[in-house]
Symmetry: C2
Subunit: 419 residues, 2 copies
C-alpha cells in the first residue's frame, strides 16, 4: 500500500471508532473551533458552550443585584469547599478534604510547608527530579526556608531512595504524570514505600486530575495539589486544589494563615485560631469569577467516571501509537512515552529535532499540540474533546511536515512566548 492508502484506511478506522464512541456526545458540551484538532487539552481545556452564559448569570443575576450580600445569598463563601468536594469525587476523596483557590504554585508552597511541619524532626524532602519547574523551584525555596535538605531523584528511583534515606525523609514530593514524557507514577506504590519509612507524600496531580482514576483515600495519600485548567477544563489559570487527608487536618500548622482559614473569619479576632477541618487550609478571598467558571465546568464529571475517561484515553493512545508506527517509522521522530498503559498518563510525547518549527507548522494546519523546548512535542489526549479522527490527522500532518521538511520554511522560525 502506498501512504495515501494507509492514511485512508486509518481515517476509516478512526471514523468507525468515533461513531461508536459513547463519549462523543459529551464533546458537544465544549466549543472547539471547526477545523481544529485540539491536542492540547492537557495544557488548557476548552470552554463549555455554556460557560459565558454562566458567567453572565453570575455577574448580572448574583453580583449586580445582591452586591455584597451575594457572598451569603449565593453562597460564594462556601465555594472553595463546595468546589473542592466536587473535585474530591474525581480524586477518590471523601468530602471535607479538598479546598480550591489560589494558583497551583501557591498551593504547592502551602502543601509542602504543611507537610514538612507535620513531619518535624526529619530533614530531607525527596523531590521528583523530573518535576515541573515550579515544583522544583518551590521545593528549593521551602527547604531553604525551613532549614531542610532537598534530595532530587528520578521518580523511578523514589522507592530505592526511600530505602536508603527513609528515616530522614519528611515528605516525598512527586508528580503523578511526568510533564515531559507523560510517564505515570506508581502512586500507591510510592505512597506505601514512603509510609513504611514514616515519611509523608505530596502528589502534584496537575496532569492526572479529571483523567486518571485516582483513589487518594484508599491509597492513604497525605497531601496533594493540582491545577484545574487542564483535564478539568476550568478555564485559563483556574484556581488550584489542595487535598489534605482527614488524618492530618487538625494537627496541621499552615504557614499561609489567611483570614479565610480562621475558625471565625468574621469575628475579626486579632489572633489566629485555625478552623477545624479542611477550612484551615483556606487562605484569602477566592477569585469568584474564575472559581464559579470552574464549578460550571465540573458538571460534566457527574455524567462520566474517570474509569471510562481513562479507558478512552488509553484507546486514543494505542491508536496514536498504531498511526505513528504506520506513518512515522522511517522519520526522525520517536515516541518517548511508555507503551505500557499502566505507565503512561494523558499525553504522548514525541521527540523531534526543531520541535518548535514542527509545532508551528502543525498549528498552521489546524493541529494544536504542545511544545516543550527544545525537542519535544506533546499530544494531549483529553478524552472529552479528542476524537480518533483528531489523532490520525495529527500523526498524518506530523509525518507529512517531517517528510517534506515543511517546517523548515522561514515563517516557522520566529520566536514567541514558547518557541
Amino acid at each position: 500500500m502506498d501512504r495515501s492508502d494507509v492514511v485512508a484506511e486509518l481515517e476509516k478506522l478512526a471514523r468507525d471508532r468515533d461513531s461508536r464512541d459513547e463519549l462523543a456526545e459529551l464533546r458537544n458540551r465544549f466549543t472547539i473551533p471547526d477545523g481544529v484538532s485540539y491536542l492540547d487539552g492537557n495544557s488548557l481545556g476548552p470552554p463549555c458552550r455554556t460557560t459565558s452564559a454562566a458567567l453572565t448569570e453570575l455577574v448580572d443575576r448574583q453580583w449586580a443585584p445582591a452586591l455584597i450580600e451575594a457572598w451569603e445569598r449565593h453562597d460564594w463563601w462556601s465555594a472553595p469547599r463546595r468546589v473542592g468536594d466536587r473535585i474530591g469525587r474525581v480524586l477518590g476523596a471523601a468530602e471535607g478534604q479538598v479546598v480550591v483557590g489560589e494558583s497551583t504554585s501557591v498551593q504547592i508552597f502551602n502543601a509542602l510547608t504543611t507537610g514538612c511541619r507535620l513531619a518535624a524532626g526529619r530533614e530531607v524532602v525527596l523531590v521528583d527530579a523530573d518535576h515541573f519547574p515550579t515544583d522544583l523551584y518551590l521545593s528549593r525555596s521551602v527547604t531553604r526556608l525551613l532549614g531542610l535538605r532537598p534530595l532530587r531523584v528520578p521518580m523511578g528511583d523514589a522507592v530505592g531512595a526511600l530505602d536508603e534515606h527513609g528515616d530522614e525523609v519528611a515528605v516525598v514530593f512527586c508528580s503523578a504524570v511526568d510533564f515531559r514524557t507523560g510517564e505515570l507514577a506508581d502512586i500507591p506504590g510510592v505512597t506505601e514505600a514512603a509510609h513504611r519509612r514514616g515519611a509523608l507524600v505530596l502528589w502534584d496531580l496537575s496532569h492526572a486530575a479529571g483523567l486518571v482514576p485516582l483513589e487518594l483515600d484508599t491509597w492513604q495519600v497525605d497531601l496533594a495539589v493540582g491545577c484545574t485548567y487542564k483535564f478539568l477544563n476550568g478555564g485559563p489559570g483556574a484556581p488550584a486544589f489542595l487535598y489534605v487527608s482527614h488524618r492530618h487536618q487538625d494537627s496541621a500548622d499552615p504557614v499561609l494563615t489567611g483570614w479565610h482559614g480562621h475558625r471565625a473569619p468574621f469575628g475579626m479576632d486579632p489572633e489566629y485560631q485555625p478552623a477545624e477541618g479542611i477550612d484551615r487550609f483556606r487562605i484569602g478571598t477566592p477569585q469568584v469569577l474564575s472559581m464559579l467558571a470552574l464549578e460550571h465546568a465540573l458538571a460534566v464529571f457527574d455524567e462520566v467516571t474517570t474509569v471510562r475517561l481513562w479507558e478512552k484515553c488509553g484507546e486514543l493512545a494505542d491508536f496514536f501509537r498504531h498511526c505513528f508506527a504506520q506513518l512515522c517509522g522511517d522519520l526522525d521522530l520517536t515516541i518517548v512515552t511508555p507503551a505500557d498503559p499502566a505507565r503512561r498518563g494523558g499525553h504522548i510525547t514525541v521527540h523531534a529535532p526543531e520541535a518548535a518549527r514542527r509545532w508551528k507548522a502543525l498549528a498552521e494546519r489546524g493541529v494544536l499540540g504542545d511544545l516543550r523546548n527544545p525537542d519535544m512535542l506533546r499530544f494531549g489526549l483529553s478524552p472529552l474533546v479528542v476524537r480518533f479522527s483528531d489523532v490520525v490527522r495529527a500523526v498524518t500532518e506530523l509525518a507529512d511536515i517531517s517528510r517534506t521538511g515543511a517546517h523548515l520554511d522561514d515563517r516557522f522560525g520566529g520566536s514567541g512566548l514558547m518557541g
Copy 2:
C-alpha cells in the same frame, strides 16, 4: 422644625448636590439595583454594566477560538504586569513596579517575606496593632517562620516606636486606612520615619487604592499590597496587587518562587533564575477570568483622577456628618471616624450597640452598609457609586430604626455569615 422637615431639607440639599455632581455620569457605568443605596463599595464594588459582555467576549472570542494560543494571541501572559501598570497609575507608581495576581493574603505573605529578607540582620517587624486580621495573622506567621519578632503598636504610635526600636526594625507594616475606624494613616510621615531609622515600609492599601490620592514613588514607599475588589470594583475576590519599588526589585529574594517569576518561564530550567524587574514577583498562573474582569473595571480610572474622587468622598463624608448631627444627636450612636478630612479614609464608622440588628434592618430598607461585630456599622462612601441622596437616606433610616427600636424585631436576630 420637626424631624420630617429636617429630613425634607436634607433631601433637597442632597438632590441639589447630586444634580451638580459631574461624577454622576460615571455612576451609570455601574449596575446598582433600583431602590438600593449602596454604602458598601468599600467591601465589594458593583459590576460595570459591561462586565458580563466583556467576559462573554473573553470566553467566546478569545478562549474558545484561540484555546491555548490565546495566552500569546490575546496577551493573557502579560496581564499581571499590564493590569499592574494600570493600577500603578492610581497609586502614583511609574510603570514596571506593580504586578497583579493571587489573593491579598498571599501578596501580604509575599511582600512581607521579601521585605524582611531585604532588611536581613534586623529582627523586628513593626505591625499596626489595628491591622485587618489577615495582616496580623500573616505577620505573626512570617516572623515566626523567619525567626523575627513582631511588635504590634497602634498606627498613631508608629513614629514613636521607631524612635525607640528603630535600629532593630526590618519592616514597618501598616494599613493606609484602618478597616474599623476609617482613620487614614500618615503614609509619607511614617515612611520617612522608617527610612530615617533604616527600616523598610510595607503598606496595605486595600482601603485606599482607587480612592486616596497616593504618590508611592514620590513618598519612596518600599512595598505595598492591596485588594482590587473595593474601590477599584474588580469583582468578588478580584486578584490583589503588589508594588515593589524599582529600588528593591533586583536585590529582592522572593520566597514564592513560582515559575511565572522565572527569567525564562518556558525554558523549563530545573533551577530558579529570577526574572529582572517586577516580573520576579509573579508567582503562578493568573486566574484570567477574574484578572480581565478587573482590567475591564479599571477603564473608568482613565476618565477621573483620584484627586477628584477623593474630593467628592470628602464632601460625602462632611454631608454624612452634617446629616448625622441633625438626625442622630440624641441617639445611642457615635461616629468614631475622625472629622478631620486629612485623617479619614473612605468610610464612616458609627458605633452602635447591637450593630448586627441595625445592619439587617437597614438592608431590609434598601440601605446596604457594612458590619463589624459587635458594635460597628461602616458606611462606605465610594465616590463613583454613592450619591448625596444615598447618604441622607442612610442616616435617616439609621436614625428611624434606632429611634423606633425597629431593629429589635425578632426577624433581625438570626445569625448568618457576619451577624
